[in-house]
């Protein structure tokens, strides 16, 4: 169901998804462009964050450009009954930025995906080693990115 309120939120997100104005009063400037008050912009953003429609209002960093060159996708074969326990352990590592369970196929048996970012491959692999020790898992594959074809934030 679409309500008027959601339409305004969508309009607000669309207006700022390419970037907030970097000024002393960004919310006031957004409000001026959209015909709403500074306070309304702030309250709407608070609600969007509170309800999880926006994960964060923050900077997206070009990680390769600041030297975080290693990006390992490590996929694990985890028995169904251990997925919850293991997923929580993996998520606890600071270098693990994403941890998901995904479906398997006859030619794809690895069901738990972890994304690990680091300054070097060795740094990523040290984290993988620590995960192995903490979980006792041994069946995994590390997929390194060889080439980035596209990397943009999600837009609506």
């Amino acid at each position: 169901m679409t309500t008027k309120k959601e339409d305004i939120d969508v309009q607000l997100i669309k207006h700022i998804q390419e970037g907030l104005p970097v000024t002393k009063t960004p919310y006031k400037d957004i409000g001026q462009a959209l015909g709403m008050s500074e306070d309304e912009v702030i309250q709407r953003l608070k609600k969007l964050l509170e309800f999880g429609k926006i994960r964060r209002l923050a900077a997206s960093i070009a990680h390769r450009k600041i030297g975080i060159n290693a990006n390992a996708m490590c996929v694990w074969k985890v028995p169904k009954e251990r997925v919850d326990e293991v997923g929580k352990i993996m998520a606890g590592f600071e270098e693990v930025t994403h941890c998901y369970e995904r479906p398997t196929y006859p030619d794809w048996q690895h069901n738990v995906f972890t994304m690990i970012h680091g300054y070097t491959d060795a740094e990523c692999e040290a984290v993988i080693q620590a995960i192995k020790e903490k979980t006792g898992l041994t069946d995994y594959v590390i997929l390194y990115s060889e080439k980035e074809f596209k990397k943009v934030g999600v837009r609506i």
Partner: protein, 155 residues
């Protein structure tokens, strides 16, 4: 690399939420002990030079009612440019990487994420990519999330 300690401090802090107050950068200036004008100037510099892609809301695709998946394709070496161009042409594709297994062969080499307004649109786009490339697209949607939140250690 031309980022100074001040830039790094700002960059580190900017990965968490910008305060929702009238003067957010003034608030940051108190936290970081860097003056507001400098913070604004350095953020503009880091955006202009491409260290910061954008300072913006990070959208929760699913909560906004959209559907998303991670898809994988086995692309022959000599068709990589052609196929990546087709995949990248869809606006719902946010990431696309060529990946290789370390010391191990894996059945797919091109990995991309795609979102669409609903499941039907998502599947019809994946099917369209299959039709346009003649390759099989494997869809691996998330069945359970344990963590999402890219924040990097800046040092």
């Amino acid at each position: 690399m031309i980022l100074c300690d001040t830039d790094r401090k700002i960059l580190h802090r900017l990965q968490s939420n910008l305060p929702l107050v009238s003067r957010p950068f003034q608030e940051l200036s108190k936290e970081l002990n860097i003056d507001e004008d400098t913070i604004i100037e350095r953020i503009k510099f880091m955006i202009e030079k491409g260290y910061v892609r954008r300072l913006a809301p990070i959208i929760n695709t699913q909560a906004m009612g959209r559907e998303a998946t991670l898809a994988a394709v086995k692309v022959p070496e000599d068709r990589i440019d052609e196929v990546s161009a087709i995949i990248n042409s869809y606006s719902g594709v946010s990431h696309n990487y060529l990946r290789k297994g370390k010391n191990c062969n894996i059945p797919y080499n091109m990995w991309f994420t795609m979102s669409a307004k609903d499941d039907e649109e998502l599947h019809s786009r994946l099917k369209e990519i299959e039709d346009r490339t003649g390759l099989t697209v494997r869809s691996l949607p998330t069945t359970k999330k344990f963590k999402i939140g890219v924040r990097f250690k800046i040092y």
